[in-house]
């Protein structure tokens, strides 16, 4: 097996990142963490994570940006909020996970095999365009982008759903798309003011 360097040097710490994470919505209390591991223990996905939520929280507040944003953990989070309601220090773990996802997408730092950013991207685009989401379309588009093979693997289910009228192929839409877009644009414009 390959030998892995298990030492961390201070130069690897990104203090701006550590600062940033305490500033995100829900991140205020990350410094209160006592590393009890309740988040990990209550997380249904933890068994599949490369770093448990507890480790990730500490890595983040210590500023190990590369390891944090490169970790599977943030993409495995299904935002079920177990960690958030359990945390004895009232740390908004789920919100922090969201923030880390956003940061990873911005920095393009997420592990490539994860279609979630793609899904999220398509999702956002569709909402912006139509105001509503037509799941079937979304699924198709995502799988077209991410892995065509998986779509084929699903085709049986697809037909079943279709036959049972659970695959609405007509893309749905709201009437006042203009309003929605103005809203989003205006918010976008003033976001930095708020930040």
């Amino acid at each position: 097996m390959a030998v892995k360097k298990m030492i961390k040097y201070e130069v690897e710490r990104d203090r701006e990142f550590a600062q940033w994470v305490t500033g995100v919505i829900g991140g205020e209390r990350i410094r209160n963490c006592i590393q009890c591991g309740l988040c990990s223990a209550s997380c249904p996905l933890a068994p599949y994570m490369d770093f448990t939520p507890r480790r990730l929280m500490h890595m983040a507040r210590e500023g190990f940006k590369r390891d944090v944003l490169g970790s599977f953990t943030i993409w495995l989070c299904t935002s079920c909020y177990s960690c958030t309601v359990e945390c004895p220090r009232k740390i908004q773990v789920t919100d922090i996970m969201y923030a880390l996802k956003r940061r990873a997408i911005e920095d393009g730092a997420y592990p490539k095999r994860f279609p979630i950013p793609v899904l999220a991207g398509e999702f956002a685009a569709m909402i912006r365009g139509k105001g509503r989401v037509t799941e079937s379309w979304l699924v198709v588009k995502v799988f077209l982008k991410a892995s065509i093979l998986r779509l084929l693997g699903m085709s049986k289910l697809g037909t079943q759903l279709f036959l049972r009228g659970r695959m609405n192929m007509m893309p749905d839409s709201i009437r006042n798309r203009k309003q929605l877009q103005t809203l989003l644009d205006a918010v976008e414009a003033h976001k930095e003011v708020a930040a």
């Binding site: 305490t22 500033g23 995100v24 919505i25 205020e28 708020a194 930040a195």
Partner: protein, 160 residues
């Protein structure tokens, strides 16, 4: 995007910093202020504390005099109802304050400039919140009758 709550007081229009005279009872609120100190709780430096044994000692004259001499706000701090070190002095205060409010209203002094708060010896955090909140509100109101005509109506006492 940092979201600090409560908002830290920033200087008001043309840097106006309100002066607030506080009468704290010796057993509850004064102790809360001491506790704030020992626990290094930070709050706005605008208040000036005058200690009385009980909030019941605060004579309406004191409040009027404070306003007359340039206070922008007056805060009275006492023990919670039922907790008074002297059994019920704070109830007496409450009654007196109600009357005083009416007088102040007639003199055109805004509600927010005069406040009565129950703050127990352990409530350093609450003290901070109350003080910061009052300073904010009074700062927003601006100086009390900044035109120098303030002595009129309010007789000044206590010249030794």
């Amino acid at each position: 995007m940092s979201e600090e709550k409560p908002k830290s007081p920033q200087a008001g229009p043309n840097g106006f910093e309100p002066k607030i005279v506080a009468f704290f009872c010796n057993w509850c609120t004064y102790l809360a202020a001491d506790l704030a100190g020992t626990s290094r709780v930070k709050y706005a430096p605008n208040i000036r504390v005058i200690r009385t044994m009980c909030s019941g000692r605060v004579d309406p004259q004191f409040v009027l005099d404070a306003f007359a001499r340039g206070a922008d706000g007056v805060l009275i701090g006492g023990c919670h109802p039922g907790d008074c070190h002297y059994q019920e002095g704070n109830y007496k205060t409450l009654r007196r304050v109600k009357m005083l409010r009416r007088v102040l209203r007639e003199m055109g002094i805004e509600e927010d400039r005069f406040r009565l708060e129950w703050i127990s010896a352990s409530e350093a955090e609450r003290l901070k919140v109350v003080v910061n909140d009052m300073v904010e509100k009074v700062r927003a109101l601006g100086p009390l009758q900044g035109d120098g005509t303030r002595d009129s109506g309010l007789g000044i006492r206590g010249e030794g």
